[in-house]
């Protein structure tokens, strides 16, 4: 399911990143790659603040929807 559907407070594993190459590379540098666990800290009309590897990242709805995750 897309990350946008993950309920805040729950943790999931990133499965696939469907963003375009440059975004994907940037996300890799920030720790967002398949196999990594991610959790949603808060949500604001679809835009998310997530926790990945201990750091906090803000993602807009568009990118969040391109990250497919799997509940663990």
């Amino acid at each position: 399911m897309p990350l946008t559907m993950l309920t805040p407070g729950k943790e999931a594993i990133i499965n696939v990143c469907k963003a375009k190459d440059s975004t994907k590379k940037f996300l890799e540098g920030l720790g967002i790659i398949p196999g990594v666990s991610i959790s949603v800290i808060s949500e604001m009309s679809g835009n998310l603040i997530v926790s990945v590897k201990g750091s906090r990242l803000a993602l807009n709805k568009g990118v969040a929807g391109q990250l497919l995750v799997q509940m663990c």
């Binding site: 540098g29 604001m44 807009n60």
Partner: protein
Amino acid sequence: MHYKFALVGNPNCGKTTMFNEITGSTQYVGNWPGVTIEKKEGKAKKFKEDIKIIDLPGIYSLSPYSMEEIIARDYILDEKPDVLINIIDATNIERNLYLTTQVIELGIPVVVALNMMDAVEAKGDQIDIRALEKAFGVPIIGTSANKGKGINELLHKALEVAESSALTHGTSACKFYDEQIEKCIGEIENTIVPSLTVKAQNPRWTALKLLEGDEKAKEKLNVSAKVLDQIKVYQEKLEKVYDNDMETIIADNRYRFISKSISKAVKKKSAGGELTVSDKIDKVVTHRILAIPLFLAVMLGIFQITFGAIGSFTIDWVDVLINETIAGTVSGWLEVSGAAPWLHDLVVNGIIGGMGSMLVFVPQIMILFFFLAILEDSGYMSRAAFVMDRLLRKLGLSGKSFIPMLMGFGCSVPAIMSARTLENEKDRRLTIILTLFMSCGAKLPVYALFVSAFFAKDQAWVVFSIYVLGIIVAVFSGVILKKTVLKGETAPFVMELPPYRIPTFKGLSIHMLDRGKDFVKKAGTIIFAAAVVIWFAQSFSFSLQMVEDPGNSIMGTFGKIIAPFFAPLGFGDWKSSVALLTGFVAKEVVVATLGILHGLGEVGEDTASLAATLQTSFTPLKAYAFMAFTLLYMPCVAAFGTIKREMNSWKWTLFTVGYQTGVAWIVAFIIYQGGRLLGFN
């Protein structure tokens, strides 16, 4: 000996703080990515050796996708610093080490500074530095940049490494990948790399980049199609084994190596997972309903203080200091020493008056930058960008455009520069164009003059309406430009939110004083020259005779030629035309020119008497159209130069300036002609 050390690290790792500690220079300390993109250099103080320190932009990885990454990588590969000092935020060690793996692979000696150790200790976590050193094969020193701790040790280590590597040449690269990948890298290194036309300086790194399919590296190495086919075999093999694309496989391998090393070396007191203080603050600050009102309240507060009572108090104070105390004293001296009248006029009216018109704003601009620095250093700025993203996206912009636009209310020059944080070129161009419609601080004196003359009762509201007009024009421009010349998808918003921190007094004062210094410098150079030129052009005729009536001066003659252009806007007199033209030097000069041309600027004459004079040639409607034109038309020369540098294109720079002036003309036309039709005067 001469040495060159370069600082690399993630944004917010404390790099700027470290740079200032090492070099002892007073630089701009920023909190959001991009601030350090300018190449900053310094010398290590306290060392007898000649050590040059270069501050590279804050980056998350060395894959060449953003401007910052390309700058950093090219610098490292082309300039070959003696040592790379990789600064790591120890509170966020896992993510920060990703860059470290890439930095180590470059084959240049690396020393790691494990920064923010004080914060790690405060949390009760433990990091086994020796174990990490062993895993990564590089020296690691614990530091706390903001307390100045560990910095000497770090530099001594770097110096030691520099001295020893000068003898040994190069370091044996640490192997981060699993067997299968290492085998492919080895084979490429031994068979393909030697056959390249461009000789590779670091065969292992070259092999890795080829395997990764790094576009920039391929370009630089001038790789033939045949070589690409050979590489493809390896890539396809690995992609099949791991069931993923090559770039992800490599990234995943690096993270795996890091996780493995970390699990042994880092002991966290708390398991993580619970909400931190920052998270709790964010729940409120980015709350669905509260976020926007909170944001507006913060902005309003800053504007109230900067442009309200406190700000205007500082203006009056400096005004008295310059135009009465200094001008009076100098005027006295000149009279006593019997200077020629023209010299008296040049010094008192031209130079002191002209520069003074700009200097009165220095304290106010410093106050504004003080608040912007608090927003940045505390971590709120990136939250504000996040909150604004949804709104700005409707205009085809990203939340990151918000920071430049906010800074635009202070001064366009740093605002335009801060647009570098946008990855996408079209987004960057659009942001720069729209930022220019945010009324910069230098335009305020123009409004102040006109509202005091024509809108005495509703001063604050009229000025406010001008600011709003700028925002409205920006919104329309955003929508129109995005649909026409700057079509394209807006880059997604991805931004790290650093933990909230209490800004340090030192950091804030560095910010503020730096800004103040910039302005004083500007006043001392550009404005000084402009003041002299303007004075000359309005005192002399083309035959170089000193004239009594400025209408016959060089400037007057020229003004009469261009005046018809402004006639449909309500201010077709030559004095206004000339004033607007001189605004290209700096916007405050508009007021100074009006003052000089209306025969004021004498000691003791103040804005009140200029306002009275203006009432003879303007009406409230004309005054409003004039203010609107001032708000929107082409930027000053400093901003112009910055636009050129940032857009890196004459075509786009001229388009920007032309667009602005065109829009200004149309808007002022609508205000004046529309106002007349509606019966205003």
